[in-house]
């Protein structure tokens, strides 16, 4: 097959968190349509290394769209042009010979650049630590069938729990808000009977933790859900706001 392409990549290079960065231009020849986007970066990196230049740093691990590590803004879109597809699952048959492609890191104050395309997403872990769990120390669990869970609740919980923590929603949002991520976790746990006892404190604490990081506020743009590779529905945000109002009112009453 001679449908190999030559591509021009303009890649963000930044040696460290405090250093200045810039877009640098590279050409990659012989790109097969069967390659994934990350494999193109692999090829580029092998060439750079062979020339004694430093390869482009980027996060990746599973390359199956599930670990949430890969985090590339491709031609201005987090994870690139294909809907519901992470960068690692994006294949080059969606590009054409001669294309010029911009590759940048997530851009958000809460995600400082570590190097090149690698950013620090520790803020997302801290939001989870603030209440994104059900308190169930090992050994304390009742028999699994003691509490039946309605199938629709289980399915809704699963849909929200499918979030891979990639942060594309933040990168896509003009305000760099982490509402979709936070709301998805709250939805997953609050909709389950096991998660009800902590539902109120969970939403208050997680929203407070989110506000304590450098994320922006939500102005209902919806870009988050469009960019989300796992199809997390934007409604989870509305539900979180509702839960929050209820919990805040209750905690005011009880003087918490």
């Amino acid at each position: 097959m001679s449908d190999l392409m030559e591509l021009t990549l303009r890649v963000w290079r930044q040696p460290g968190p405090d250093a200045d960065g810039e877009m640098r231009t590279y050409t990659v020849a012989d790109v097969s349509p069967d390659m994934s986007f990350l494999e193109v970066l692999d090829v580029l990196n092998e060439e750079l290394a062979a020339r004694g230049e430093e390869p482009v740093a980027f996060d990746h691990d599973c390359r199956e769209g599930i670990c949430g590590a890969c985090s590339l803004v491709i031609n201005g879109e987090p994870h690139g042009p294909q809907k519901r597809t992470t960068a690692c699952q994006l294949h080059m048959r969606h590009f054409a010979d001669g294309d010029v492609i911009d590759v940048e890191p997530w851009r958000a104050a809460a995600f400082p650049v570590v190097r090149d395309l690698v950013v620090d997403r520790g803020a997302l872990d801290r939001i989870v630590g603030a209440g994104g769990y059900i308190t169930a120390p090992t050994g304390s669990a009742p028999e699994a069938h003691a509490t039946p869970v309605a199938k629709d609740a289980a399915d809704e919980a699963f849909t929200a729990a499918a979030c891979i923590g990639c942060g594309a929603c933040v990168a896509a949002c003009p305000n760099a808000s982490a509402m979709l991520f936070t709301a998805a976790k709250i939805k997953h746990l609050n909709v389950l009977p096991q998660g009800r006892p902590e539902a109120g404190t969970r939403v208050l604490d997680m929203v407070a933790a989110m506000d304590a990081e450098d994320f922006g506020g939500c102005t209902n743009v919806g870009a988050c859900a469009t960019a989300c590779p796992k199809g997390i529905p934007v409604d989870v945000i509305t539900e979180m706001n509702r839960d929050w109002l209820k919990a805040a009112a209750r905690s005011r009453k009880s003087g918490r």
Binding site: A57, D61, C62, R63, G68, R93, D125, A154, A157, Q194
Partner: protein, 654 residues
């Protein structure tokens, strides 16, 4: 220097921690006999847990809940990204919710048999017992398992069993289980019980010379390059499998053997490295650029028919090959089981037809998995409902529509049953060093059943490691590690210096080949000579080529960049250097085991029908290897296996 294949045989080794007596009582007995540490004293003890997959996250969270100070490490930017996240199919548990005859006894039986009678019975029995608690624990944490309309948990069947005991969350079971453990871990991090060190790689173990105990680790901060010591009173390795020694596998790119190999070099025995599992249904290699392989769930073989053209070199579009020119070889050779033969058999059969030149797709390394009949019989809707997400993933990767054109699949390395040798307490031969999850060798013998790795990881982490660590600290009454203790400080200094020296050495070669190019070459060599089918000749050839490749690595390696920065080339180089040592031991183990069992197929040892032939007379033991220097013949310690409950039998699927 003697030839590597002339290994020495050392003293036999035995598990002294499993209580004797009836199998059913052993775990309760062990828990009862185990020493405890007073809750008030626990906060004085530090436990290091390396790895945040199912085994590591669950162990760290539980030890934190118990009041220990825990230091947790992973190489990813977040503990939630550990490779366990990628597991698809499900997790086994002997709940018997279906009332289909399941029991702890049956899960135990299936696992021992599935492991081809090469696992330790008491460990497997414990695993089956704990499986019940795992599901309870996960449900309490909010893991959204699939449910039925009545609100109860749903299950499905998996290979190698006759009952429906696999719990699942769509095709993302590993993700959901890991998020449960990760969330418990984050809770302990927020509470200050666990200190998390993401983007931090363990590069050595600290062992004190006077008592030989594991007392800490040396790490490199992957962002700053800083090399540091972390001292502790016990160390738990949960660093996953070593499958990536084969380069192209279903594992995540970063999966590596460095932690277990460094421990092995300090004296921890490494058991059964040749037991590797090959999964028959993966998307084939599409070109030289290929960086990893993607699994297509085993469940597809329920409705897909496997075939290749009868003629060699037939390059027609599959739709143009008439029925009578197709060879449905699994149905032909194994009429009883057809397309549902076990993983190893399906894999080898695919290799054989491709070796004959009848493979399909690029490079001729692929076979068809055809859904045309199923679609005609059941309708496209039904197939969509069953496999829609898998078909989508297939199309995303290959650009081909599996509804109209058969899938192409090929076997790939998927899992490693071998690992660091541990006793019943999951303690390695280095006191104070515990090993859990895929990193140990403990429960699957020569072959792991589907949906049993997740079960083992969580059993080890939630329920076994906490008991063992308590017991160790209680029994030894070891004093909390004191950084000022001269002997400990000297051991840590030496380990730290060793790590720095190695980093410098990798950078100093300054040759003309990248670590990745060596990794690819090693992987190809391993796959060809020590993959699906192994012979004395191929293994001997591998033993000749690996040291040569290793020598070339240290002569021609090129690592751009410096030590004190985020340097992914340097990370890779360190891992490949360790793979180049481990590969040699893996091959030697395969050469010495002159029998076929489970995932290890020696062509010399097969039945007239071409099936695996075990040799229980000679090989009913665990091969635990002791390191003797790079390229130096290691020492073999045998742990004889006694089968009290289960009588070894031959598997048959024809």
């Amino acid at each position: 220097m003697s030839a590597y294949s002339e290994y020495r045989v050392g003293e036999p080794i035995a598990d002294t921690r499993s209580p004797g007596g009836p199998m059913n009582d052993r775990w309760s007995q062990r828990k009862f006999e185990a020493q405890l540490v007073n809750p008030a004293n626990r906060r004085h003890h530090t436990v290091i847990v390396v790895g945040t997959g199912l085994a590591g996250a669950s162990a760290a969270a539980t030890l934190g809940e118990q009041g220990y100070r825990v230091e947790s490490f992973c190489y990813q930017d977040s503990p939630r990204r550990a490779h366990s996240i990628a597991a698809q199919g499900g997790i086994n548990a002997a709940k018997n919710y279906r009332n289909d005859g399941d029991s702890v006894q049956r899960l135990f039986h299936d696992t021992v048999k599935g492991g081809d009678f090469r696992a330790r019975e008491s460990n497997v029995h414990r695993l089956a017992e704990i499986s019940l608690q795992i599901i309870d624990q996960c449900v309490a944490q909010g893991v959204p398992f699939a449910r039925e309309y009545g609100g109860l948990l749903n299950t499905r069947s998996f290979g190698g069993t006759q009952v429906s005991r696999t719990f699942y969350a769509a095709g993302q079971t590993g993700q959901q289980l890991l998020l449960g453990a990760y969330q418990a871990l984050e809770r302990q991090i927020a509470a200050g019980q666990v200190t998390m060190h993401p983007r931090t790689e363990m590069l050595d173990l600290i062992v004190t010379p006077q008592d030989g105990r594991a007392r800490g680790i040396v790490t490199r901060d992957l962002v700053t390059g800083k090399v540091e010591r972390h001292l502790a009173d016990a160390v738990v390795l949960c660093t996953g499998g070593y499958g990536n020694v084969f380069y192209l596998t279903t594992n995540a790119k970063g999966c590596n053997a460095t932690a277990i190999w460094r421990a092995h070099r300090h004296g921890a025995l490494l058991a059964n490295p040749c037991y590797t599992q090959i999964h028959p249904t993966c998307i084939p290699v599409s070109g030289d650029h290929q960086s990893k392989l993607t699994l297509m769930s085993e469940s597809l073989r329920n409705d897909g028919r496997v075939w290749v053209p009868k003629a060699t070199g037939d390059e027609r579009h599959p739709g143009q090959i008439p029925e009578d020119e197709r060879d449905y070889y699994l149905e032909r050779v194994y009429p009883a089981f057809g397309n549902l033969v076990p993983r190893d058999i399906a894999s080898r059969a695919a290799k054989n037809v491709c070796d004959e030149g009848r493979g399909v797709g690029p490079g001729g390394r692929g076979v068809y998995l055809d859904f045309a009949d199923a679609i005609e019989r059941l309708g496209r809707k039904a197939i969509e409902a069953r496999y829609g997400n898998l078909f989508e993933m297939y199309e995303r990767i290959t650009g081909e529509d599996p509804y109209t054109r058969p899938m192409r699949i090929y076997p790939a390395i998927h899992y490693t049953m071998g690992g660091l040798w541990v006793d019943y307490d999951l303690q390695s031969t280095i006191p104070g060093l515990f090993v859990a999850g895929e990193a140990n060798f403990s429960d699957h013998g020569a072959n792991r059943l589907g949906a049993s790795a997740l079960m083992q990881g969580l059993a080890d982490g939630y329920f076994v490691v906490p008991v063992s660590v308590n017991n160790y600290l209680g029994e030894t009454r070891i004093a909390p590690a004191d950084p000022a203790d001269p002997a400990l400080a000297a051991a840590a200094d030496a380990a730290e210096a060793g790590v720095r020296e190695r980093v410098e050495r990798l950078l100093a070669v300054d040759g003309d080949r990248t670590a990745d190019s060596f990794h690819r070459e090693l992987g190809q060599l391993m796959w060809e000579l020590c993959g699906m089918e192994r012979t004395e000749e191929s293994l001997t050839e591998a033993l000749r080529r690996i040291p040569a490749l290793r020598e070339e690595f240290w002569r021609r390696l090129k690592v751009p960049g410096g030590p004190e920065q985020l340097n992914q080339s340097l990370e890779k180089a360190g891992r490949v250097a360790d793979f180049l040592e481990l590969a040699e031991l893996l091959v030697l183990d395969a050469l010495h085991r002159e029998e076929s069992c489970g995932g290890h197929f020696r062509a010399e040892s097969q039945t007239p029908e071409g099936e695996a032939l075990r040799d229980d007379e000679r090989f009913s033991y665990v091969a635990a290897w002791e390191f003797a220097g790079v390229g130096e013949p290691p020492v073999l310690h045998r742990e004889e296996l006694a089968f009290v409950e289960e009588k070894p039998t031959t598997r048959s699927y024809a």
